[in-house]
């Protein structure tokens, strides 16, 4: 039996209004399902559940203002609500079980692969390579769903399973994370930004490191790549920057995480927050989850989807509370460079200016190159300039090889 509580979407949020439920008592929910909509200082947010189960009670009423951490709904274990009906004859019980199994099969997506722990240990068909990869990654191969002939497990199935396992683990951690974010008075979005930035400026000893990245290789690769893509599949520079930052953080994890309780907590999942300004003023910073494990195309579709939803006011609670690092990019019309303010309790913020043609010494002569000013803001309590410098160097390397992103 679990309690679904009002999530915290940032250190400044103390309450939010429940606009509507998308579920009713008796409904079966799966981890990640959107069960309702709340109105916060960050706009309308879709709220997700963090466990599988059945809704047994909706405590919060639509229209009610609920403090962060208060119980909104009670979620029983799957099928718990049906207990009364289960006291019937064995035949009907069997029938119900079948119905439930059928439902399960219907709704079975790749996401639920990780949960198929109850599978019997039948003879497993798997390629030798798949078995070796599974052993290396410490995965029980019986839990992996095979995509090959007669369910044969291939290497890619094992890797997909591993990817999903990481995502699932992150999901659970994020559920806890909302807990340790502190609460301050709820006000408008402007005041919420004001509070976060004041806290940052007061508490975080920022250091700034700056470098100019030669974007010739990236821009060239991007232009070529986009020639072969239809309008809606084209890549934009921010998508590459998100991916490059995520890959670099995998190499320099010290900048990925939170400074809480006077200590640095490095996070395993790399969730890249991206500052999106809103037309009506203010900004939101939703995160692309596990960006280092996603392909460029997955980042592209996540990014487009996220920006669209940010502007329409349909971000999800998980996206709003899980960033482990933030990128701010001023786009093509913005300033040349940006010295950002870290969003607490994160410990780093990467600011990208606009890409502009500038003179640059290349191989002993001066050339005109598309340059990108990149400024890292680091929390000096958590890291030192040496780490930040390594980060920028590796980020530069990533962007010099755009084809490997």
């Amino acid at each position: 039996m679990g309690k679904f509580t009002m999530p915290s979407l940032g250190s400044q949020m103390i309450e939010a209004k429940l606009i509507q439920w998308h579920v009713k008592p008796g409904d079966t929910v799966k981890k990640g399902d959107i069960i309702g909509e709340i109105d916060t200082e960050k706009g309308l947010i879709d709220i997700e559940v963090f466990e599988d189960g059945t809704i047994t009670d909706l405590v919060a009423k639509e229209g009610e203002v609920i403090p962060v951490g208060s119980v909104m709904a009670v979620i029983g274990e799957e099928g718990e609500a049906d207990k009364a009906e289960m006291k019937t004859t064995e035949a009907s019980e069997k029938k119900m079980q079948k119905v439930r199994e059928d439902d399960k099969q219907k709704s079975e997506t790749k996401k639920s692969i990780a949960e198929k722990k109850e599978l019997p240990s039948q003879r497993i068909k798997a390629s030798p390579l798949a078995r070796r990869v599974a052993t290396d990654l410490n995965i029980d191969i019986r839990k992996v769903e095979g995509s090959g002939e007669a369910g044969t497990i291939h290497r890619k199935d094992v890797e997909e399973y591993a990817r999903q396992r990481v995502a699932d683990e992150t999901f659970e951690k994020e559920a806890d994370m909302a807990e340790h974010l502190s609460k301050v008075e709820k006000k408008s979005m402007r005041q919420s930004i004001a509070a976060a930035m004041s806290k940052s400026n007061k508490e975080i000893p920022h250091y700034y490191l700056e470098t100019d990245i030669d974007m010739k290789a990236t821009v060239k690769w991007l232009t070529n790549e986009n020639k072969n893509r239809s309008v809606n599949e084209r890549l934009l520079p921010p998508m590459l920057l998100i991916k490059a930052v995520a890959n670099t953080l995998a190499e320099v994890p010290q900048l990925n995480g939170f400074w809480t309780d006077e200590a640095m907590h490095i996070e395993e999942g790399i969730h890249v927050g991206f500052a999106i300004s809103l037309r009506q003023g203010g900004l939101v910073i939703p995160a692309i989850l596990n960006a280092d494990m996603k392909s460029l195309d997955e980042i592209r579709s996540d990014f487009v989807d996220m920006v669209t939803r940010a502007r329409e006011g349909h971000l999800r609670s998980r996206e709003m509370s899980s960033a482990t690092v933030t990128i701010t990019s001023l786009g093509e019309r913005g300033a040349d460079k940006v010295y950002g303010v870290i969003y607490p309790p994160q410990v780093a913020l990467i600011g990208f200016g606009k890409i502009t043609d500038r003179p640059r010494a290349v191989d002993g002569s001066i050339g005109i190159r598309p340059m990108l000013s990149t400024v890292l803001a680091g929390d000096h309590r958590a890291t030192d300039g040496h780490t930040g410098s390594r980060f920028l160097e590796k980020l530069n390397n990533q962007l010099q090889q755009p084809e490997t992103l």
């Binding site: 232009t223 986009n226 239809s230 309008v231 037309r279 920006v307 019309r333």
Partner: protein, 84 residues
């Protein structure tokens, strides 16, 4: 025909900048600076227009598509070419 293009462009412009008064917009105004449209808005607008009018808009053309006039001119000529 150009009316159809006008309508579609206005529709997608309104979608990304709902508060903007398009009647006040001159056909030579730079959309980016006048309406504060960023590259992501522009991208979304191009995707919408391209899908609705079934016209491909190559990326290398983006640079010149900064005003209503230039967008209109480009789309009209692409359409004529496709139909011709």
């Amino acid at each position: 025909m150009s009316t159809e293009i006008d309508t579609v462009v206005s529709k997608h412009l309104h979608r990304i900048a709902p508060e903007a008064d398009l009647d006040q917009l001159n056909s030579d105004d730079d959309l980016g600076t006048t309406l504060d449209i960023d590259s992501m808005d522009f991208y979304n607008m191009m995707v919408g227009i391209s899908e609705e009018l079934q016209i491909d808009i190559p990326e290398e053309e983006y640079g010149q598509l900064r005003t209503l006039k230039s967008i209109n001119k480009f789309l009209s000529s692409q359409k004529e070419r496709d139909e011709g």
